[in-house]
Symmetry: C2
Subunit: 491 residues, 2 copies
Amino acid sequence: MAKELTPRSENYSQWYNELVVKADLAENSAVRGCMVIKPYGYAIWEKMQAELDRMFKETGHVNAYFPLFIPKSFFSKEADHVEGFAKECAVVTHYRLKNDPDGKGVVVDPDARLEEELIVRPTSETIIWNTYKNWIQSYRDLPILCNQWANVVRWEMRTRLFLRTAEFLWQEGHTAHATREEALEETEKMVNVYADFAENFMAVPVIKGAKSANERFAGALETYTIEALMQDGKALQSGTSHFLGQNFAKAFDVKFATREGKEDYVWASSWGVSTRLMGALIMAHSDDHGLVLPPKLAPFQVVIVPIYRKEEQLEAINEKVEEIVNKLKAKGISVKYDNSDTKKPGWKFAEYELKGVPVRLALGPRDLENGTVEIARRDTLTKEVVNLENIDQYVADLLEEIQKTIFQKAFDFRTEKTTKVDTYDEFKEVLTNKGGFILAHWDGTPETEQRIKEETKATIRCIPFDGEKEEGTCIYSGKPSSQRVLFALAY
Amino acid sequence: MAKELTPRSENYSQWYNELVVKADLAENSAVRGCMVIKPYGYAIWEKMQAELDRMFKETGHVNAYFPLFIPKSFFSKEADHVEGFAKECAVVTHYRLKNDPDGKGVVVDPDARLEEELIVRPTSETIIWNTYKNWIQSYRDLPILCNQWANVVRWEMRTRLFLRTAEFLWQEGHTAHATREEALEETEKMVNVYADFAENFMAVPVIKGAKSANERFAGALETYTIEALMQDGKALQSGTSHFLGQNFAKAFDVKFATREGKEDYVWASSWGVSTRLMGALIMAHSDDHGLVLPPKLAPFQVVIVPIYRKEEQLEAINEKVEEIVNKLKAKGISVKYDNSDTKKPGWKFAEYELKGVPVRLALGPRDLENGTVEIARRDTLTKEVVNLENIDQYVADLLEEIQKTIFQKAFDFRTEKTTKVDTYDEFKEVLTNKGGFILAHWDGTPETEQRIKEETKATIRCIPFDGEKEEGTCIYSGKPSSQRVLFALAY
């Protein structure tokens, strides 16, 4: 298979699609809109999961598991929620197949119709709040801080690997609190955890903020988000945390006895990130040669390739490499040694470049003589020859350096691609010719937001938390505004 | 809620059902046959997952993820497979709901019928072999050693928490090989991994063996199993590994170019364990006071309870406990300190007994004076007062001791409950009055097996790998037999 990628400048979208498949991350399956996550892609997801799970547990959360199916009637209980999800869900109507009386295959058994249809969960608020009802009697039972790692299904019509698939993997946190303040605090805490993860592990800088009413989660009073900028100048919503107020408690009648001896509905938050993060990771850093992975999430951080002509040279190299591998592993660095004899070094170099392995070591007979090794960085595509003596410390430092460099590059790109505009003309001009994030004044109404979206396709990504208060006038309506909001074209 | 359990001797089945719920492991959900795995239960499952995942990776496997849905037509491609699974599966027929024109709720949108129905996976051989077709061209692409952690659905009519549920969590390994020998070797390797895990982590002794033809997986040429004995004398199949021959390769047309330049179908294995293991763990060790957990799988291995009357006493205890906690953690021991003031020590003792925490430390003012601590073992319900000085090493040793003791107790129980019989009368007598494993000669025919099952409900659990060859005559037919097989009533 040709491993060359369409250059980003030529067709960014095609570059992405090719990269996902050629780097063995994922592929489309026989089921419309559902993907197969291949071992190399899944190994990155596992790294993400491990870090996020650790962060959730450090902030007091526990994992649990709730049913895949949701009774149809549950959906009707929260009006906004059903509006948001009913139009794109997989519905189970039968529980048995039988042999086709007219042929060789199997058909749905009409006698095995479910009394009530079941929906494959698109998100689990309803089934979880129906469960929480039995777990909560008094303030002593609160807070409940549960997370679940699960698959969910949303019947999207247009799908793209990782970015938008009918089935995807995610985690969904669902918390229950005695007060509005606590639930809001939790909502904010978790968007901060997501931002921390995005920046310090994925090396993707993000803007934290609140969604406008139009863009909120179906059933939420507030949705907080982290927004990342991709190399094509489009935004990618990478994680959301919702303050649900008492909406689901009311829908499922979840009340508790307060400390003061009164009765009140329980307050809620929910928050999630998904395999969509894989899309963000790929698009934020990679180049025309392939993936660029931050060392903290690379399935293996270092690959070692032997360079030799004769079999007996390989033996000496193998011996030296074993030493190196042991030293690196002792420093907690993950290493793959590829001494397979079916591929040439040049093929291997291209392959591991495509797969984004952060550091490559190449070792030949001359290196053995000199006590050196050739070391190549994936992010900068630079090479140098270094002494083998302190190779472990050298590589450890280099991995840290790469992690920082990748983040800084993305950060600088975002800075360059963030523009303040004060007029609608300027807005449209920047959107067309430059792209990226646009900071502009908005009058705060859903109508204005909707018109701008219809006219330009740009949406309000968020009202940034750290945006300075600044008096101005809405670029569209001219009405007063007290803060710039973040616009962009988005995935 | 009353935490007392029905004694096992009175009603074993009720004891199990109560224990699962009262120890906060799992509960039934609003969806028929689907369970909610509660945080404490899920924490045990996570420990199991982590160990198994490590063992899979150490034996060369990688994780991947395949779609939840399987096109209906895929099921018809392997005849035995469809026979085994079509009668109990959840079928997705529609992809949208719409507002009920006659009411407040939502109804299935008849205009959103799928062209081909999708089955919620009961197991993934078909979708995976359809995928492998594109991954395999030559012997160089083999072996493929993939595992997936996933949920599956089998529409069982009678369900019990963990033991038999419509949805359950599991892992399924699916491997592809160039030769029959390699695939068989893999099948055997994985049943050994399962046995290792059951015995050394769950502390549950198991018998390894091959299933008789009647009891094989739908589509397999051989099924290897590990069989455990529960305290009520019934067997529990705890993990299976299947040699699939070329059945799925033929059904999905997966051929490869051999090293010799010929073309052949690929050889396959699949293997899985599920949340059913939770049932085995609970039933193998627990007693009338509640759970008994092996230290290697306990969510926390040690609980510390302060004993005090006045607030100022607590402060001094807190201080000392912090020291102890740090020492224990430094030894890799997981600890929970429960100094909540809403519950009395007696309540806490009962609660952690119910939850099977292996070791409990209780610390009061007198202990502070004497430099001692009261230490209680969950498995033996014994207590002693020990010096605090080397408490970390003492607890570490004790946890090891408990792990061994629990295994030995289960092992001795199984030995006592394993009976060799030589006549059918004896067989029925042991089955009725003693239960347990019965080793008896069988003529090897499905007909005899079926009749014994119909007459006694006992099934052949396996043909043990390590059973000695021994000439004898079938207890039912009187025909010759060369090895005793393992019979039991089973879950």
